[in-house]
Assembly symmetry: C2
Homo-oligomer: 490 residues x 2
């Protein structure tokens, strides 16, 4: 009926994903592992089996297909990342003030598996806020790095001068701006359609399908115009969850959020499984084995750059953030800064797909240099995910005071799942000046929030007066605490 | 980044699906159209545009890819069909006794678009029950026809005798039984995992992902073993929604149901859009134009066979069904029988995919006979969907008495969204003997229900005593009317 080879492969791969999910569930109580470790490890195991059964010629169930990765697997992950920035807000709104602010292990948290484990540490042991910082900058970093990567591809790096550096800057800004604008436009268009037509009135499938397809369309349009699909999908997700999501029926709201998160989850497992299997591909390692020093050097260099690169902005930004805080209890101490630095060291899906896309053809390469870059990237991903990932819990335990002490800190901050400034603004549109000290916590977003205070106030007024009536947005339906959302419908 | 040609095509295709959804929504108030008409018509329009812009060489955005159809688009449709049999029950349970039984246009109905329009006629104008009959036999028919088709492919039809006829019967029974058993087994395995491990405890993504992937795995395994994936996925969906679905967290329940329905909806639109575009493929029509009489004859023959085939079991079965009814108010009158006959005449997705798969290679054929069968199938699908579909509303108006009269009939039947016997049994497990007259309505399922009464009672006892404790199942959480579900947890 269908091509037997591909049916074989897909069946085996789907079965492996199922096994991953079950093992991942069984290991979840053991917080030493994280979501990415299981598929990576299972991928490695399957790689060994395939390698042995194929007599050392192959270690993968199927070949790398950039179309599969970039057209089907990556968009849900990126779009979901954009949505999550506001979903956090949505949870807050749906489940009321009590769920998140009391830092209880609330079921609504369960929809966020990629950062779930990490978040749990933070929620239980230190401030909630650092997770929001980690999360917020994680997705923006991914998107920005992809745009940088796109921009730099257009230049010959062996002949770089001031002029090409300026040109590169211009290309970067152009790509960043146009990709963002495209994402925002498609997001607003979908919000407008949802607000004016209310497709959910007749069929909730229709509104969910429209949300999914418009998001996907934004990504594909960006790819079509040679922009950054990742940045576009991210901002489309952001705008959709700020406007369009609120025009949906209640059932669809829950369903859309879950569906996006689930598909992102499945796609991430797929990519990690593939990376695990591909890590045993002898073809690449054969190239590398002829110059082991170069390969080890490259891996160490990349790992070092990751460590230094992250340190070079986490610590200075934390310092600036601390300067703006009046109370010491809101300041990020060195231990917290180390945790924030550490938690962003794990490289994953986006790094690997970029490496595959740039340095291989259908997962194969015949050039030594490409093979070395690819195997080094793989080493960094495997090492950072498995070693750094496993070390996170002991590190948090080592650096942070026992939970009982921190619970007191937590209880002094009743209602601030503080994420990005835009989110923060949508949560308490008018009250930030009056309740500033209560509503702000020690977070990287605070410095942004403080410096752009006036801009935000104008943006909120503009949003409430012009954007929300046109594109929809959060309305207060359930009774919520007076301090957070009752001014929203003004 | 990705193959530009495919990005073009996918972007255009996704944009077309979005347009379809918006137009479909705008046309929904106009009940002359149905869900399939919009994509078919839009596909035809796009076909004209592509045909003109390509100078008559091509009418499609992309070529038919059997892998795309059979591995990605068909499984969600079939699996959702299996789920819907119980989802109806789920809605009943979630929204209480009032929603469906009062036959109001309740929002919970909105999750069922493929039969939504038709259902609305029936709900508003005649009995609710005939829809359940239509729906129930629709999916079983599809699955059975696929198995028959599979079985008959193995025989040389030019040399048929008693022995091969028996062999054919044996093959059919073998395929039917093994496919069903595989679906049931995978469904039970997923239910067992969900019941024992409760993956939703830590992450609702994990349980949703597991449901989706296990369902997909059942389909792929059936294809791998040369069984009928359609039948397997249907029964897997049926078992999952009877057992596994109830072990999920509340949010995931809603989300899974919506996600399955939405993906089924999107896949259906994809296939209809493709069929609309492919209907203008000149390659096939060139073969046909050399023998127009043969082609017209074939189309007429197929259409005639559809009409006769459906009549030959709707009317006799209705007759038998009526024989078992004591009260005339429960009997299906001739007009209702005509509606049931009529509503099943529309051919769609499954017919087209089978024709493409058997008679083309990537959507192309060089044999006249194949081209004729394909164009005739297409004619039947287009004609039945568009002409029969558009005639449904006038026909129902013509044959059925005005709504006011029927509302009285409806109000005498307070609580029976009567679907398949298994569903019916799960709804009122012990009460059917006491409340028989209230709970049974004039339906085809009644004859099954009546004749297999004893078997059902034993099955229910077995289900409650052995299956549900092991695989999970509906528990009574909300207060429900005494007559329907309070004995359920025994």
């Amino acid at each position: 009926m269908t091509n037997p080879a591909s049916v074989d492969n897909i069946t085996l791969f789907v079965a492996l994903i199922c096994v991953c999910i079950v093992i991942g569930h069984l290991l979840v109580e053991n917080k030493w592992t994280n979501e990415s470790t299981t598929p990576l490890f299972l991928g490695l195991c399957s790689g060994v089996v395939i390698l042995l059964s194929s007599g050392g010629t192959n270690s993968r169930i199927f070949e790398f297909d950039e179309q599969l990765f970039f057209i089907y697997l990556l968009p849900p992950i990126i779009f979901n990342a954009g949505c999550k920035v506001f979903n956090r807000n949505a949870e807050y709104w749906l489940f009321g003030d009590q769920g998140l602010s009391r830092y209880a292990v609330h079921p609504c948290i369960a929809i966020d598996p990629p950062v779930f484990q990490l978040e749990q540490f933070f929620r239980l042991q230190i401030l909630y806020t650092p997770c929001s910082i980690l999360f917020g900058e994680g997705v923006v970093n991914d998107a920005t790095s992809v745009v940088l990567f796109h921009a730099i591809q257009k230049y010959d790096l062996s002949d770089i001068n001031v002029k090409t550096a300026f040109q590169f800057g211009g290309t970067f800004l152009f790509l960043f701006t146009t990709s963002t604008l495209l994402g925002v436009s498609v997001g607003l268009l979908s919000a407008f359609i949802m607000k004016k037509l209310h497709p959910g009135r007749h069929s909730s499938d229709r509104e969910m399908a429209l949300m999914i397809l418009m998001a996907y369309l934004s990504y594909m349009m960006a790819e079509l115009f040679d922009l950054s699909g990742i940045l576009t999908a991210f901002f489309c997700g952001l705008v959709m969850s700020h406007y369009a999501w609120h025009s949906m029926t209640d059932g669809s709201k829950v369903a859309t959020r879950h569906a996006f998160a689930t598909f992102s989850f499945i796609c991430e497992i797929c990519i990690f499984l593939y990376v695990g299997m591909d890590a045993l591909d002898l073809e690449k390692w054969n190239f590398v084995s002829s110059c082991p020093a170069k390969s080890v050097g490259m891996s160490a260099l990349l790992l070092g750059l990751v460590l230094i690169g992250r340190a070079s902005f986490v610590f200075p930004l934390s310092f600036i953030s601390n300067l703006t805080k009046k109370s010491t209890s809101y300041k990020l101490n060195l231990k917290q800064q180390v945790i924030i630095w550490w938690a962003g060291l794990m490289r994953g899906v986006v790094s690997m797909t970029l490496a595959y896309n740039q340095f291989t053809r259908f997962g194969h390469t015949q050039q030594q240099a490409n093979a070395i870059i690819l195997t080094s990237t793989m080493t960094v991903v495997l090492f950072s995910t498995m070693v750094f990932g496993l070390m996170t819990k002991p590190l948090v335990r080592l650096l942070m005071p026992p939970p009982i002490l921190n619970r007191n800190v937590l209880s002094s901050e009743p209602s601030s799942p503080n994420t990005l400034p835009l989110l923060h603004s949508s949560q308490d549109p008018e009250s930030d000046t009056e309740h500033e000290d209560i509503h702000r916590s020690a977070s990287l977003s605070r410095i942004l929030s403080t410096t752009s205070n006036t801009i935000h106030r104008y943006w909120r007024k503009y949003d409430d007066r012009y954007m929300r009536p046109l594109f929809g947005g959060r309305e207060v339906v359930h009774p919520v605490p007076a301090s957070s959302t009752n001014n929203d419908s003004q």
